[in-house]
């Protein structure tokens, strides 16, 4: 039996979403077509849009459907940046050092290709952004800032960011704010209208929907230059035939996740607390990273560094015992690199190599936690023997 502890990477499809997807896949029709089949597909899409908007606290017209979270992040960062250059040159993009690469890489791309200037807000030891640093940047040069992008909750260490505070500060200076809420939806109370942000990213497969479906929720009137040009779908903001089965399944999953959120968040946080206790019991010198206060952390997230171990050794040994987790950082060619998130939090490089993220979700049970509790002690012992063999031995 496999203990799946990698829900932050992708979570299994919820049965309702799977049923909706399969049902819709059997129905023909392009939502842009004008005949009966087209209208039927369009109706499916618009109902999905309304369902998703209701789940996220936005109006349906604010939902721009995309092929996933990465595309939505790209549309937000590049689209806002370009749109903000028309009246006046605004080269500065303010973001944090702990964003997902779907935000960091578009920002870097703008720096390399468009002459943008990136300002990375620092984070504290638990990974929480320094809002005073944002205040300073905006006080000094708000007119130069194209946008601010701060994630709702971190995908690696689970730290919840003060998004409302960020939005409030930016609003004082008239600077638009984007937030990547991919990890937050379904676990934290994400209400677009109440949040004060100008646009927000959501991903289908993180809420129990399909991979390849997502949305950028963008405030009415927010000017976004499109990244994809073509048939003019999504009011010109995002061309491409809308994947009606996927967006229907996405909306069903998101609605289900949000409706059950409060009870699920408590249930999963309890499991997570058991997991943390079990790991620290078996490996007393393991270090819990991120916010130790549950109020500041995603309910399903547990992140540790294991001194003297390499993440890839730990991952292999757990995988061989049927426990699936993540080293928590982005991969390059399948190779985990020391996490930019941990390094930004001030974790030493050697400790950052021995990181594992365990993430729980809607289908997690106490058995999953028990499987990890059984495996982690011997696994860490063995990984320690293998040591930091890839580090410079003769340094």
């Amino acid at each position: 039996m496999t203990a799946y502890l990698d829900h932050a990477a992708t979570t299994p499809m919820r049965p309702e979403a799977l049923a909706a997807l399969v049902d819709e896949l059997a129905s023909p029709g392009n939502a842009s077509s004008l005949h009966t089949s087209g209208r039927r597909a369009r109706r499916t899409v618009e109902e999905a849009r309304e369902r998703l908007a209701a789940a996220l606290g936005s109006s349906p017209s604010e939902v721009v459907l995309t092929a996933g979270g990465t595309e939505a992040d790209n549309l937000a960062v590049k689209g806002l940046y370009w749109a903000r250059q028309t009246a006046r040159r605004r080269p500065v993009v303010v973001t944090t050092a702990v964003e997902h690469h779907a935000v960091l890489d578009p920002v870097e791309w703008l720096v390399e290709h468009e002459g943008a200037e990136a300002v990375y807000l620092p984070v504290d030891a638990v990974g929480r952004v320094d809002v005073d640093a944002l205040r300073s940047v905006l006080a000094a040069r708000a007119d130069d800032v194209a946008l601010v992008s701060v994630m709702w909750a971190n995908n690696e260490v689970g730290t919840v960011q003060p998004v409302a505070e960020v939005a409030g500060v930016a609003r004082e200076h008239g600077v638009p704010v984007h937030t990547d809420a991919v990890q937050a939806v379904g676990w934290l109370p994400v209400d677009f209208a109440a949040s004060g942000v100008d646009c927000l990213t959501v991903s289908g497969h993180k809420v129990g929907g399909p991979v390849g479906a997502g949305a950028l929720v963008a405030r009415r009137g927010l000017d976004l230059t499109p990244v994809l040009h073509g048939g003019g779908q999504e009011r010109g903001a995002r061309s491409g035939t809308i994947d009606a089965p996927a967006v229907r399944a996405l909306s069903v999953a998101a609605a289900r996740a949000v409706a059950g959120r409060e009870a699920e968040a408590v249930r999963v946080a309890d499991l997570r607390d058991d997991l943390v206790a079990a790991v620290l019991d078996a490996v007393p010198d393991a270090v819990l990273r991120g916010d130790p206060d549950p109020a500041g952390r995603l309910p399903g997230n547990a992140h540790f560094t294991f001194p003297g171990c390499e993440g890839d050794s730990l991952l292999y040994l757990l995988d061989a015992r049927g426990v699936e987790c993540s080293v928590g950082s982005a991969c390059q060619a399948g190779v985990p690199k020391p996490s930019h998130v941990l390094l930004a939090m001030g974790v030493p490089l050697h400790d950052a190599r021995g990181a594992l993220r365990f993430s729980l979700g809607w289908s997690s049970t106490a058995d999953d936690v028990a499987a990890l509790a059984d495996a982690i002690g011997p696994v860490v012992q063995r990984a320690r023997r293998a040591g930091l063999s890839s580090a410079r031995a003769r340094a």
């Binding site: 890839d312 050794s313 991952l315 292999y316 040994l317 995988d319 061989a320 390059q332 060619a333 399948g334 190779v335 985990p336 690199k337 063995r382 990984a383 023997r385 293998a386 040591g387 063999s389 890839s390 580090a391 410079r392 031995a393 003769r394 340094a395």
Partner: protein
């Protein structure tokens, strides 16, 4: 070998894929690992170099899928950089000619990787090297390294740095097969890499231009090119870019008095001098090498063996004349272009006796030869 837990190093090439397949078929419990050795891997292969691109990792992954074995990518780039690449640069800077494949086997595949594999509970590391390991009856059944049956592919030379305790945990399933049969077997097994070109040259020199690659790291250091009498006959942009026996790229203005081509006879890094001379002056019949590793029982003075000084070079008969500190062999016929830093591998029939790093080589008949460069 009875069924054990095997870590198969998979480069993404046909050899390591078939080697892993054979390990699976032999009943071993096999896990595939691709070693990420480049700091900044390129996305696609260009030409026939190396195994360090994302495309190579993907090829290895697909081969593992076909074999139905777990697969991981392990990052050994820091170790590779320190133990192979930096060593390569330092050796050239010191006027020597290193073999990075030998260093990689010695320090990465059968050191860093094997140590990690053993610690994680594996019994052996399997690679697609063409070499054989057989039980040595004379040495109480200890593992002995032998040449592969395919003389064109034999890679025992680059493995001659493995002592018995390392060989005991090595698996080379291709040693008894010729390359064409390996490709045919890959196709039969449905491995898409069956037709993938062999890799050549140095994997970390992306475009194959070693001289330019070294120049970018060591800078331009102009110095004299002199003949055996010390007369300056040209200028070079860095002695490190020259290897004993090299003929091309000398760019000498004046022709030699005898009108014949001139070759690099020695590279002296301290004075940054390259010495050139006629082809005949390259011939050596005595080789002195240090830092020996024996793959089995050590040789004895007076023993008649075979000597090989480069990966695909000829084996020449030799006799061991001294084992006092350094290994000294007298060659049965002269070899040319023997550079300090190269590996001297010694053979007893097909068995690899061991290897040592060449310090100097000279002709016992004349005074010419390479200038000793002590490590």
């Amino acid at each position: 070998m009875t069924a054990v837990r095997v870590l198969a190093a998979m480069s993404g090439g046909v050899d390591s894929a078939v080697a892993a397949a054979r390990a699976v078929e032999a009943g071993h419990e096999v896990v595939g690992v691709h070693l990420a050795l480049a700091r900044e891997p390129a996305t696609q292969r260009t030409g026939a170099r190396g195994c360090c691109t994302v495309e190579d990792a993907d090829d290895a992954r697909r081969a593992a899928d076909v074999l139905g074995i777990p697969f991981y990518v392990w990052d050994l780039s820091e170790r590779f950089e320190a133990d192979v690449v930096d060593d390569f640069v330092a050796e050239y800077a010191a006027g020597r000619t290193p073999n990075p494949c030998v260093r990689c086997n010695e320090r990465i595949k059968f050191s860093a990787l094997l140590d990690k594999a053993l610690a994680l509970g594996f019994d052996a590391v399997c690679t697609g090297h063409y070499a054989r390991i057989e039980a040595d009856g004379a040495a109480g059944g200890a593992p002995a390294l032998h040449r592969a049956v395919d003389p064109g592919k034999d890679q025992s030379y680059v493995l001659a740095v493995l002592p018995p305790e390392r060989l005991a945990h090595a698996l080379f399933p291709l040693g008894d097969t010729v390359k064409d049969d390996v490709r045919a077997e890959a196709a039969r097994r449905g491995l898409l890499v069956a037709d993938k070109p062999d890799s050549h040259d140095i994997c970390f020199v992306a475009d194959g231009d070693t001289k330019a690659w070294l120049g970018a790291r060591l800078g331009v250091r102009p110095g004299p090119v002199v003949d055996a009498d010390g007369a300056v006959v040209g200028e070079h942009e860095g002695a490190f870019a020259y290897t004993v026996g090299q003929r091309h790229g000398l760019r000498l203005g004046r022709p030699a008095p005898d009108g014949k081509p001139r070759y690099v006879l020695s590279v002296e890094p301290v004075s940054n001098t390259v010495t050139v001379g006629p082809r005949a002056a390259l011939d050596v019949d005595e080789v002195v090498a240090g830092g020996a590793t024996w793959c089995g029982p050590a040789p004895v003075v007076g023993q008649r063996l075979g000597a090989q000084v480069r990966a695909h070079g000829d084996e020449v008969p030799c006799v061991v004349t001294s084992l006092d500190g350094a290994v000294v062999v007298r060659l049965g016929r002269p070899l040319s272009g023997v550079a300090p830093g190269q590996t001297l591998a010694l053979y007893d029939g097909t068995r690899v006796v061991g290897s040592a790093t060449i310090r100097t080589a000279y002709s016992s008949l004349t005074s010419t030869g390479t200038i000793p460069t002590e490590r």
